[in-house]
Point group: C2
Chain length 341, copies 2
DNA sequence: ATCTACGATGGGAACGGTTCCATTTGTAGA
DNA sequence: TCTACAAATGGAACCGTTCCCATCGTAGAT
């Protein structure tokens, strides 16, 4: 009883069926379809339909052909923000007839390198990167290979690539303005440890500048969020300290907001009495206590913009004229009860 | 000024550098490494290292060789449950030296077909599928082509493939037992419209059986969750209706839990007084009000199991002996304040 | 009428691997 | 000493495309 491992139809079979050469069939499935006579086109279409032909991407990827594939490297797939951006990327790709291949690096620089190499070997036509580490070498190789790159949020060393992301400076200003307007005078800034040139770094710096400019008191807790003990301790101290000025916690991203909310809950703090403002809007922010005030990022727009940059680059072809640019998006404030006293 | 489109190193260059044939180099990077003499191995390793060689997956995938690629089709990437499973899949893949290519279908059957074809054209060695529609034809083609399939949760028509997922019957029993034990006597079951053979269907059926067996009163709301108005109306009615028996809402998945929480909040209902139990554990369930009781799925385990099935199938090769199996996982109850009166 | 140009098509050499099969060499058994 | 066999290695065909270049008409220019 032979296993019917039916072979997929190849371009050659279609060619035979359509009484054409494989070159013509190849053309039909590429950008050069119009170069074929109408008669030829219908013949090929019919034959391909009849045989259920689909070009083998492996083969075409091999011989320099366009892969119609975009790669995306995500640092943490479990972060809703990343997923939302990814969704925007996806939609933009679909509209252009591109497919998206997503790799998650799980915040591990080693895996980042690994996956970058993988994507390169698939000859992706463009790459959207949300980096953890600094895989400069790999990225430089990709650039030299001619692959357009777009970095999310984070600029990387020497690599010549556009950066798409939030206008972090203005976002922090918005947050501080709001907190000050609501009467909070002592702030605790909560962030994961900022690496070099990351948005975390930008936000942190602006926090310092911002409180100085406004005459607010502020302190900072930058530890891995996994260290719950340190976190609870820090927040507990901050909340319990005797003072006449209302206090608020400012969270640098969604994970920080989650951690802070947990800590405040454990401490029995009333939201609003202790202010809480988070960067990144999440499903549940409206549901906790009086609602958590957030600064929402236009995630879909960021994703779409990334793909647009990619495409623009690709058109530009070898031209190295366009210098690496930064595309900034504005956050929008969603005020809720957690910053109302 | 020529663009330095530096070529990637090929197997041939490594072979030259190592004073070996490309066959040997190929062997070194495949399962047959031990067939090479120790001396040869070190030479090749050194050369590859020196030149930064990485095999081109496109090329190897072409000539019958294994692509070392697993595909995953996700119905809704924004669903945290899907992402969690995906994370399990990813880890299992990594441990086996496989790469994972993820496609999101955004709950659109058309895209589902499209992406399935795409993955097929990349000659993936296995496919983990979280289906929306019923792309039987495409799946059947893949099966005949010899690609191992694993379906998440959902069984599909004729397709011969393993199914990995929750033991929905027992999960519902657990939920009902808990609610009854906590004294809730009238239940509202909230679900998105169940399609054929979906886990939603299984859960719904068991709900009906379960309340009958326990002598509970129950009703069902199965509408798209996007229809907020209908939802609020239904929950409002349920809550406001005069009755002496405590009432609870049972949510069929994470999305339903979110929608129900919003509705209850809008209605000003106190959680616990009106019971709430959701299937799927989410980050925020512990944070809302007195905490929301959930039935957690072992998401990572499900993901890992899916990959294991795939690999087992692949070993089995042409053997069609092993019939399509179902791998069941047990949910675990996380009791919180939303089911405490 | 001849030349040129261009549009439509096809032939065949890559692309970078894998794999079948042949060759070389070392060694144990007869 | 001869044979047999296994281990180590290399040569070359092949996988399914794309792309360069050649071919063949035919229409417009000279």
């Amino acid at each position: 009883m032979p296993t019917t491992t039916q072979q997929r139809t190849t371009i050659l079979e279609v060619a035979r069926e359509a009484r054409a050469s494989k070159t013509s069939v190849s053309r039909y499935f590429s950008e050069e379809r119009e170069r074929l006579s109408p008669d030829m086109q219908t013949r090929i279409a019919a034959a391909a339909q009849r045989l259920g032909y689909r070009p083998n991407r492996m083969a075409s990827g091999l011989k320099g052909g366009r892969s119609r594939l975009i790669g995306m490297l995500v640092a943490d797939i479990r972060n809703p923000f990343s997923v939302a951006v990814m969704h925007g990327v996806e939609q933009a790709c679909r509209e252009r007839g591109l497919s998206l291949m997503v790799c998650n690096t799980d915040n591990d620089p080693a895996q980042e390198r690994e996956h970058l190499a993988l994507l390169a070997s698939y000859r992706v036509e463009g790459l959207v990167i949300n980096a953890v580490g600094s895989p400069d070498r790999e990225l430089q190789a990709l650039v030299e290979q001619g692959t357009p790159l777009v970095l999310l949020e984070r600029e990387l060393g020497e690599v010549e690539a556009e950066v798409v992301g939030l206008d972090n400076v203005r976002a922090l200003d918005m947050a501080l303005n709001h907190l000050q307007a609501q009467g909070y005078g002592e702030l605790l800034y909560l962030s994961e440890p900022p690496e070099q040139a990351s948005p975390r770094q930008t936000r942190l710096t602006r926090f310092h500048q911002g409180i100085a400019a406004r005459g607010l008191a502020g302190e900072v807790h930058c530890r891995p969020l996994g260290d719950t003990e340190a976190l609870h301790h820090a927040i507990g101290d901050f909340v319990a300290r005797p003072s006449t000025v209302p206090r608020a916690v400012l969270c640098a991203n969604g994970n920080a907001t989650l951690a802070a909310t947990r800590a405040l809950r454990a401490l029995g703090a009333r939201l609003g009495e202790v202010g809480l403002l988070g960067i990144d809007e999440l499903d549940w922010c409206e549901l906790v206590g009086p609602g958590i005030t957030t600064l929402a990022q236009p995630t879909e727009a960021i994703g779409r913009a990334a793909v647009e940059c990619l495409m623009r680059r690709r058109e530009g072809g070898g031209e190295r004229i366009a210098p690496a640019r930064r595309v900034h998006f504005q956050a929008s404030l969603i005020p809720r009860g957690s910053t109302r006293r």
